[in-house]
């Protein structure tokens, strides 16, 4: 049964037909609608990143906010992109795993390199989320304690038990990063 909503409301809902946001430093203007190239009002940010923009580095596992695979940075905070509507991201600055390295030279972010050096993954499905959560932590707190790392990564699950190596990788990256300040 259709609810009768007045004309003004109908217009309002169509007002925001474009969503402008910055992803990995690039400005995007996304059209809201129901076409295959458009963003539906019900699309999550994780869906838009992967299916509309092809940024498949961000993974979706539980799609319920409980596993951390879909972690991205929004205004430099780590957030679960599967629990955020794309239409509510207007004006936001988003960084995904693709935004960490240098796309021209292929150089990895020091944190990514540290994950490689410490073999801090097995199947690798949780890794982009782990790295984005760790990145948010290091941006805010360049020299975290082991406890602080555990707390920051407590929303990122790994079924292959790579956590021990992840801890080492993040600790090593934090030491390298600020070595000259100590």
């Amino acid at each position: 049964m259709e609810v009768k909503v007045n004309e003004q409301t109908r217009k309002k809902s169509e007002e925001d037909k474009h969503i402008s946001l910055v992803i990995n430093g690039n400005q995007y203007s996304l059209e809201v609608g129901y076409g295959s190239y458009q963003v539906k009002p019900s699309d999550t940010l994780a869906y838009t990143l992967r299916e509309t923009l092809g940024l498949t580095g961000t993974k979706v596992s539980c799609d319920d906010g409980a596993c951390g695979s879909c972690t991205v940075l929004m205004s430099s905070k780590a957030v679960p992109s599967c629990m955020i509507l794309t239409v509510e991201c207007a004006g936001k600055d988003i960084t995904t795993i693709e935004g960490l390295g240098d796309p021209k030279t292929g150089t990895l972010d020091p944190l990514q390199q540290s994950f490689v050096d410490h073999t801090a993954f097995q199947c690798g499905f949780c890794t982009p989320g782990m790295i984005m959560s760790a990145k948010a932590l290091l941006n805010e707190n360049p020299h975290p304690t082991e406890e602080e790392i555990k707390e920051a990564l407590s929303g990122n699950f790994c079924r292959c038990i790579s956590h021990y190596q992840v801890l080492e990788a993040v600790l090593a990256a934090s030491e390298k990063d600020g070595g000259d300040n100590d």
Binding site: K40, G65, A78, P80, M83, E151
Partner: protein
Amino acid sequence: MRTFTHINAHTVNEACELLGQYRGKARLNAGGTDLLAMLKGDIWPEYPEAVINVKTIPGLDSITENDNVLKIGALALLSDVAKSPTIKEKCGVLAKAALSVGSPLIRNVATIGGNLCQAPRCWYYRYPRRLGGPLPCLRKGTGPCLAVKGDNRYHAILEGKGCFAVCTSDIAVALAALDAKITIAGPKGERSISVVDFFQPLGNTLKIDEMIKDFQIPATMLSMEQRFLKFTLRKPIDFAIVSVAASIGLNNGVCTDARIILGAVAPMPFRAKAAEEKIVGQPISDNVAAEAAEKALANAKPLSMNAYKVEIAKTLVRRAIKGSTAGLGE
């Protein structure tokens, strides 16, 4: 997720007006960590026509303090509530409760108002459509509570009448221990209600065109000893099996005033008045705390699989009372 009309509201009045226009067929979206789960599972008997974004309403996320009251906007993020120096210093019970919710990722988007309005975690209530749901149950308006004869290990041990799903909001438990008032905005203006009265056996007192605007904590509560304890199976991303929040006024080790609230044991936050009466006027000791804990759970009526929750609740009440004399820490 099935689609819906999406509208950004820019004022509280506009949001209430839109809710009224949709006559119960619209849902407000704040953090979205609970709403999107409900929509993805297609759990409500009727899928909402519209989702109204309230994050576009400016000023609803502030935390301010004056002489009589500490005011927290409904859109304050749980991570901000947990980190706020004012809240950490003056109402540690709320900061601790906020820090205990979900994971750092969830707390970065979830709001304090949304935490109060979350749908119950009962697995019969939340049975998703893709698996053959939604299951008709008392909470949804048809049929009996399925937990009574089913798997009820996480359900109510107190005050269950009809629906046995528990209120899992940790924030509600902490705010109730602080005697907080909720400001509710509606088409006819604002009204104020205490957190304990906000909840009803089958939900809350919000009418279809009302929304929570802010929370007000009276300054008199802020000087009391506060404790928050939560028992979960995992530390992060888990809901309380039992939680306890307590505000206890002390004068030379003698209890002068107390509010003890239990979470996840009843369909609403449960105020353990019998335990409060037991300790007021008494010096806090192991014996007094243990007796108060017995009193708090005296009326417990566990279901077939959840008698263990009674023992956990008693232990948490005892520790919260005893802990109030221990200075900081537990």
